[in-house]
């Protein structure tokens, strides 16, 4: 199974069927398959869990117990902009928890339709501690973060400016 490119979200059942139909069935491949679906759709739609259950002959209960166990997978679509702040020890020592709280407050002040465009989450160290504290804006890493820098990032994304460094 190749590493599927993350593409824009289209979770129509046809897309799902075709995509899952192409996954290689191997007994110890369930998590790779879930990765592929997650990468493809930005989450694991229920529809695809059902199809996967058929195709891999794995009970749906097993798929969900796995799906919800691992933080990497989601069962609901991800927001337009995902901000993942590192809460590893180094990043934490360099104030990432405060930045997280600031960002939460910042987002909370936005009007609901704008707030919904953001998904704020945490990760526990990505091994780039020299850049602590850091945030993933989508797949882009931004290091040596400050509350101000974070504010700029959010504002930049809001105004749809691509330049988030």
């Amino acid at each position: 199974m190749g590493e599927p490119e993350p593409t824009q979200q289209s979770s129509g059942s046809d897309a799902i069927c075709e995509f899952i139909g192409n996954l290689k069935v191997e007994n110890d491949n369930l998590i790779l398959a879930l990765h592929a679906i997650e990468n493809r759709f930005g989450y694991v739609p229920r529809q695809s869990a059902l199809l996967l259950s058929k195709r891999f002959s794995v009970p749906l209960a097993r798929i969900y117990e796995v799906l919800t166990f691992y933080h990497y997978f989601r069962t609901t679509p991800s927001a337009e902009h995902t901000l993942t702040i590192c809460l590893g020890t180094s990043c934490w020592l360099h104030g990432s928890e405060k930045i997280l709280r600031n960002s939460q407050n910042l987002l909370a002040e936005l009007p609901p339709e704008e707030r919904q465009r953001f998904g704020l989450s945490e990760v526990r160290c990505v091994g780039c501690c020299s850049l602590a504290p850091l945030v993933f804006a989508g797949k882009k890493v931004i290091g040596r973060l400050t509350p101000d820098k974070m504010k700029q990032i959010i504002e930049g994304l809001l105004s749809n400016r691509g330049d988030i460094s």
Partner: protein
């Protein structure tokens, strides 16, 4: 297997290899506290209460998961162990509601008992009980997720013993919770309502839907003619609720109790079990003699099993006996045959059944054929546990009751009928009658030792009228797939059927191990209940269904003969392939 010598609290004991420290301790009368381990299940080590100290070993191994090793010096109780256990127990209780008084397990709860034994007198830790709505969707079982202590028993029962996979854990850490497949309603999941999860749950997180209030209401309501039936396996299990040894046959006391509760007629499901045999044995003969292609014939009196088959193995629908279960047969006969003979208005007849089973509650409405009398054939199905509570509510001193008899028309039973309560019993009962049908012999072979006992899959070959009949008996749904796969294999190869007759019961041990039976079942208790059933059979002078005088009367005056048109209309049903997931 070689013997391993260990010391437990200074007492020497020799046990066989592979024995857990927990079981080894039991041999010297030491009970180590447990909460997650159940004798039916492989130990997972989820609760942490059974930790012990082993000299020379670092840390505290779990008694339930650790096998004995030669020369182990084990200490099961000391101040530190007790203190750790108490702390763990308090931690568990900190995520548990304090609602014993309104809980279905009040008085029979393993968690409550431990809390009492450990002198828990205060909640030291902050309470954290996230609100999760209860699941009442099946009408059989109530899932009260807030009371779940995540011991994992139900999940393992449902996945491993039953192979249904309706349940699993979701999320992780403190957010771990048990939920039906993919967080849907239980009724939308593959659940077959066998209730094994509830029978194994140590707490009140999974209980049967209690319908005793509705029964009281029907009994009180003027104009009702309320009849009751008791299933075969109830008579050898209910005693446990009143301090009897498991397996004690209390049929007479049950009749008496039911009469005192105010039921107008006391019937016995064993009677309709005899009717089931008449129909099923005739079906067997029909297929065996005329249409071998639809062999094997598969028994269908267990609603969890039929549900399971419809969802997971619909290719076996043509093999199913179309005979309804004894519960439903008695219901329809009460509202037709009995009503007519007694001159009663069927609309006033209410049929209550006392079952070992939570799926029986679901069976009442499983298809339109359950209304063959023109009314709901059986109005309410109670479990053994519910009946025990009614008896207690009514102030009946059960253990002092003199035995009484059932009422006539639907109350007499043969030894074969009672055998329905245990795995292998339906088969044995059917063989008795099939032999008679096939050979006309008056004294057929009665006992088939090879299909008795608690082995998951039992096979036998018998001689019947000069022909070999191959049998298979499975109990516990987890054993079904293997049997069916063997059949598929021979079918695929176009060979002679691997089996001619298959009996399946969803619960381990059959109905004696049913999901609605008194709590705390183990194989030891199942075996005793099973012996109670066999004893009931032996005690009977009439041991074959076709010799039951009331059955003979039924056919002579009402149904004509087995598989008659009327019998088909009232006593048979059809099966449909159903989706595994309703959503």
């Amino acid at each position: 297997m070689s013997q391993i010598n260990v010391q437990i609290n200074g007492m020497a004991v020799a046990v066989s290899e592979g024995t857990s420290l927990l079981d080894a301790a039991r041999m010297v009368q030491v009970k180590i506290p447990t909460l997650c381990k159940h004798p039916d299940l492989v130990a997972t080590g989820a609760c942490g209460l059974c930790i012990v100290r082993v000299r020379g070993m670092a840390g505290f191994p779990r008694a339930c998961t650790t096998p004995v090793e030669e020369g182990m010096d084990i200490y099961t109780h000391d101040n530190e162990l007790t203190e750790v256990r108490r702390t763990v127990l308090e931690l568990i209780l900190s995520t548990h509601p304090n609602s014993c008084l309104t809980c279905g397990r009040n008085g029979s709860c393993e968690l409550q008992t431990l809390a009492a034994d450990f002198s828990i007198r205060e909640s030291s830790f902050a309470k954290y009980v996230p609100e999760i709505p209860r699941d009442t969707s099946t009408g059989s079982l109530i899932f009260d997720f807030e009371k779940c202590i995540k011991c994992g028993r139900c999940v393992h029962v449902c996945q491993d013993l039953q192979n249904v996979w309706a349940l699993s854990f979701l999320n992780r850490g403190i957010h771990t919770r048990m939920a039906p497949a993919g967080d849907i309603a239980l009724a939308e999941s593959p659940c077959v309502r066998c209730g094994q999860c509830s029978a194994h749950c140590p707490t009140g997180a999974i209980i049967e839907l209690d319908e005793t209030a509705e029964v009281w209401r029907l009994l009180r309501e003027p104009g009702n003619h309320v009849v009751v039936q008791i299933a075969p396996s109830v008579r050898v299990a209910i005693g446990e609720e009143f301090g009897y040894e498991p397996g004690t046959n209390l049929t007479g006391q049950l009749y008496a109790a039911l009469r005192r509760l105010g039921f107008h007629a006391i019937f016995d499901t064993n009677f309709s079990a005899d009717v089931t045999i008449m129909e099923e044995a005739s079906e067997f003969i029909e297929r065996f003699v005329h249409n071998r292609r639809e062999l094997p014939l598969i028994t269908s009196c267990c609603p969890s099993w039929t549900d399971y088959m419809e969802k997971f193995h619909p290719d076996f629908i043509p093999h199913f006996s179309t005979a309804k279960s004894p519960q439903q047969m008695l219901g329809v006969l009460a509202k037709t045959y009995y009503a007519a003979r007694r001159g009663l208005d069927p609309s006033t007849i209410k049929v209550i059944s006392i079952m070992p089973c939570t799926a029986k509650k679901y069976e009442l409405t499983r298809s339109h054929e359950m209304y063959a009398s023109g009314y709901k054939d059986v109005d309410i199905a109670l479990t053994t546990r519910e009946l025990a509570r009614m008896i207690k509510q009514a102030g009946i001193e059960f253990h002092r009751l003199p035995p009484e008899n059932a009422d006539s028309l639907l109350g007499t039973y043969s030894g074969a009928g009672t055998m329905f309560g245990t795995t292998g019993g339906v088969m044995e009962a059917a063989l008795r009658t099939a032999q008679y049908f096939l050979t006309g012999e008056k004294m057929p072979r009665l006992v088939f030792e090879e299909i008795r006992g608690l082995t998951g899959i039992k096979e036998a070959k018998i001689e019947l009228a000069g022909q070999e009949i191959r049998l298979a008996v499975a109990h516990g749904l987890g054993h079904v797939a293997e049997v069916l796969d063997r059949v598929r294999e021979t079918k695929r190869k176009g060979e002679e059927p691997r089996y001619h007759f298959i009996e399946v019961m969803a619960c381990p041990g059959g109905c004696i191990g049913g999901g609605g039976q008194p709590y705390g079942v183990t194989d030891e208790i199942r075996a005793k209940r099973m012996q109670g059933i066999f004893q009931d059979d032996r005690d009977k002078t009439i041991r074959c269904s076709h010799d039951n005088p009331e059955v003979i009367e039924l056919y002579e005056t009402f149904l004509e003969k087995p598989l008659s048109e009327k019998a088909h209309q009232l006593l048979h049903t059809t099966y449909y392939a159903r989706p595994i997931y309703q959503r």
